[in-house]
Symmetry: C2
Subunit: 531 residues, 2 copies
């Protein structure tokens, strides 16, 4: 029994599995296993539409076990991969034991992940835009800002609630701000207290034109004109570097007061891929044109995490797009089949058919076959037609078509779906000079300083009464005795804090105390006893 | 300008608001405000269908702002209500300041809440079944148990994964276990490794027959027969009292190994209602037949949180059902209108039309007008017809109809929607004699004992090397040094612990230490300085 294990359920992994299932149908000597963190496959091209709401929340996702009948789908997190022993360990689930899987062929299709580490503040206060939960969280949040702004009496807060900043003017940044703008404007119609002109959408892009990597200049300019016409501000040669609870911070130091900051910066390598001892080029796994990892005989890589030569051009490599991953899957399935059955392997050869970007509001831009350029409604209709045809499964097609139809005939449905209670502990980032809270505010959180310095100020004259730094805490007084803050806290430097909700504070303080001191002695004691 | 403030967006609150909007249309002298924690209204009767999946996740909910045009909808949490000053304070949102609202008329429609406090273990390990997020969490969890069971090699764990215990055989318990059974069986079809006969559904009911409060005996017996035929076990005169990560615990002390425990026990009074100084009868706010709270002139109560006389019978009170709340809303709106305009108020008078309970799988039971009893497919068709007609809004009707249609023609879509990362800290409850972890297990969590005693055991002979109690912690060694547990931990008494994920442990330990000791001295010091 040969075991083929596929890591990752994105376009690369799923299409490889689909073709493998076909090739080995009715053969009992091969087992195909796919490991993915989620139990669904996300149809990425339509993710921005989830934000806008023109399709339903689950319309972009398909159940992996239904999509891949004949393949074992393990919905698990990978702990480690041992290339020598040909083993994979999966983190425990419903038990305390990790599971080991052996493989004969390994396909790595783990894509990449959003990684805000290094850029302080973005991790804590910016929305990512990569997977389904990002799209839903962003949609929920925009609904919340509009609802809160509608009956907001503080004009400054209202302005910040209606300001939306998106970092990155590539494909996803451009698509998502167009959808965000549509959503905010449609929602605002429900509230006479919101003037549509007060909604500010700002796109921050480090290059000189939109989608500079993906689209030719004419289409970039068309997209730019279109977004500007709809009231979206675009700032070129500018960069989003940080965020705080108050707003976005640009490279120049400029601050934009906003309660919504989105960052679509290029994502980084998956930590599991990083931990594997494989040859890499710019963080991606180096393979030959057959997608076999350099120096290996049974390890393959596909999609965004792989560095696969594009043999149609000289010294070129396949771009990280769904279009390529889908075709790679077919060739990779063949090559694994050929390896097992001793047949001839194939090289991956594909020429990009074109690029499409939806810009919301019944418009899009497209470049086809490197020649034809279309924009506006026709491009949009083409976008919908192409992606609809490519949607996996008839029921998904029906659902999306019905959603599109409903979206045109009925007003927007703005339900904020909350699944989990808010976290007991939140990490927050503030820049120097920002106030964390003001005297007289409601005392809702206790703060612990992870990094940085703050000053405690008292009275109208803001008289300084104390300075606190790393490891110290503040805000406990209003939690213990009183309803409102008895002092103002302002940051001297950039500050990272942990905020603990009032209700959870008691539970934690009762249990964590003395732990650090005790931990070493306890450990030693027990070690002695056990020997 | 008169302000009418409605607390709560359930059937009572929403229907009161709808009728008030109609009555005061085009009058600029009245403002209607509704405060609710969520931005949507849940159509409760169809909630069980969300678990089963025959309708979409958002098909049961409607956006409040769209449903109630002409009413200000505040999506906020209530901090307190001051009946003397006629003020309500809302907890801060996007700021640190609470908001105050004044009212001239106050409508309390806060329903009741799930409250597991007092029954240790249920709070931590049982699913509630009350609101949308409960229904979704339960659905996600059932999908996960089936997927995990499918490729589970440990037969004991597989058995526990496929065992489902529901506590409470009233309306919601009966409806939900029927839907759970349908879902589990439909999902299992995808996996040749799961024998449908291995799926165990157990309904625990303290009375002698199902839905004893709501349905006549003949229909109870019919429902019982039907559920039993589908393989559901029913235990009468039995009670679910606790739960642990291993399973359910009954009043008799019997343990049922199960990874899914649901409790539909009667819910308790909303804490905000509890905090208000109003006359109460068995926890509910006492009103007259006009729904005016006893002793008040401008405070009204409606729905599940109100104790409203039923004047069609002697010494009877309105039951807590949607049917009543909807009709109460109309009368209450009239009475507030009458109060403001100096007209004649009305008393609430309504006779129950009947009761319907869906039992999944195209069957239901119904009693109409206290006389006619129907069961099976006809009752089910009636159930769907009645509740479909009552659904608010045409687009919702379209969506639900389309979902019902799709559900019949395409196979089940089993997507597990995860919105938030799992919590860094979890509260867990174990019973005496249970193992928390075993030597050699993967070290994934650190544990702090909140209450109870555990013993640390070493080696195959389980030699006792230590005993730990409240405030002490264990499991830190494998987090610090090693991958797997170096000892076994077993509970001597019932134990409550906090479990902290490996990844979050470092962050917390670095910050919480010494805090308890320091907090009092710091506080004193700052108090001195500020005076």
């Amino acid at each position: 029994m040969k075991k083929i294990v596929i890591l990752g359920g994105g376009f690369g992994g799923v299409y490889t599995a689909m073709h493998l299932i076909k090739k080995f149908r009715y053969r009992k000597d091969v087992e195909i296993i796919l490991v993915n963190r989620e139990n669904y496959f996300v149809y990425q091209p339509m993710l921005a539409e989830v934000v806008g709401g023109s399709i339903g929340i689950l319309d972009t996702v398909s159940s992996l076990s239904r999509l891949l009948k004949g393949c074992r789908v393990y919905v698990r997190e990978i702990e480690w991969v041992d290339l020598e022993k040909q083993q994979i360990s999966l983190l425990p689930k419903y038990t305390h034991k990790s599971s080991l899987i052996h493989y004969d062929h390994l396909v790595i299709g783990l894509g990449n992940v959003t990684n805000f580490k290094g850029s302080s503040g973005l991790h804590e206060h910016a929305f990512a835009f990569k997977n389904l939960s990002d799209a839903l969280s962003l949609r929920n949040h925009i609904i919340e800002t509009i609802e809160t702004a509608a009956y907001q009496t503080d004009p400054e807060l209202k302005k910040a609630l209606l300001t939306y900043v998106v970092g990155g003017g590539g494909f996803s940044g451009t698509e998502v701000i167009a959808e965000m703008n549509d959503l905010a404007l449609r929602l605002a119609k429900n509230y006479p207290t919101i003037n549509p002109k007060d909604i500010r959408m700002i796109l921050i892009h480090s290059k000189k034109r939109l989608m500079d990597k993906e689209m030719p200049k004419t289409l970039s300019l068309y997209a730019e004109k279109l977004l500007k016409k709809r009231g979206i501000e675009i700032r070129f040669q500018s960069k989003l570097v940080s965020a705080t609870p108050r707003g976005a911070i640009l490279e120049t130091g400029e601050k934009i007061a906003a309660k919504t900051v989105v960052s679509t910066v290029p994502s980084s390598i998956n930590p599991i891929v990083e931990s594997m001892q494989l040859p890499k080029v710019r963080g991606k796994i180096a393979t030959d044109a057959q997608m076999l990892v350099d120096g290996c005989t049974n390890v393959w890589a596909i999609g965004d995490c792989a560095h696969i030569p594009d043999i149609t051009k000289e010294e070129a490599f396949c771009p990280p797009t769904a279009q390529y991953a889908v075709r790679q899957g077919k060739v990779l399935a063949h090559n694994i089949y050929a390896s097992i059955r001793g047949k001839q392997k194939k090289e991956f050869r594909f020429k990009c058919l074109g690029m499409l970007a939806a810009l919301g509001h019944n418009s899009a831009v497209a470049e086809l076959f490197g020649k034809i350029r279309i924009s506006g409604f026709i491009a949009w209709a083409l976008w919908r037609a192409i992606y609809w045809v490519k949607l996996p499964g008839i029921s998904r097609k029906l659902k999306v078509a019905f959603s599109w139809f409903l979206d045109k005939v009925v007003p927007i449905e703005a339900v904020q779906l909350k699944l989990a209670p808010s976290q007991a502990i939140a990490s927050l980032h503030y820049e120097s000079g920002e106030e964390i809270f003001h005297e007289g505010d409601t005392g809702d959180y206790l703060y612990i300083i992870v990094k940085g310095k703050v000053e405690i100020l008292k009275g109208e004259k803001l008289e300084k009464i104390a300075e606190l730094k790393d490891g110290e805490f503040f805000g406990e007084m209003s939690l213990l005795n009183e309803r409102s803050r008895t002092a103002t806290v302002r940051c001297i430097t950039a500050v990272d804090v942990l905020a603990i909700r009032k209700a959870d504070f008691g539970m934690l303080i009762a249990n964590f105390s003395e732990m650090k001191e005790k931990i070493r002695s306890t450990e030693e004691e027990r070690m002695k006893k056990s020997h």
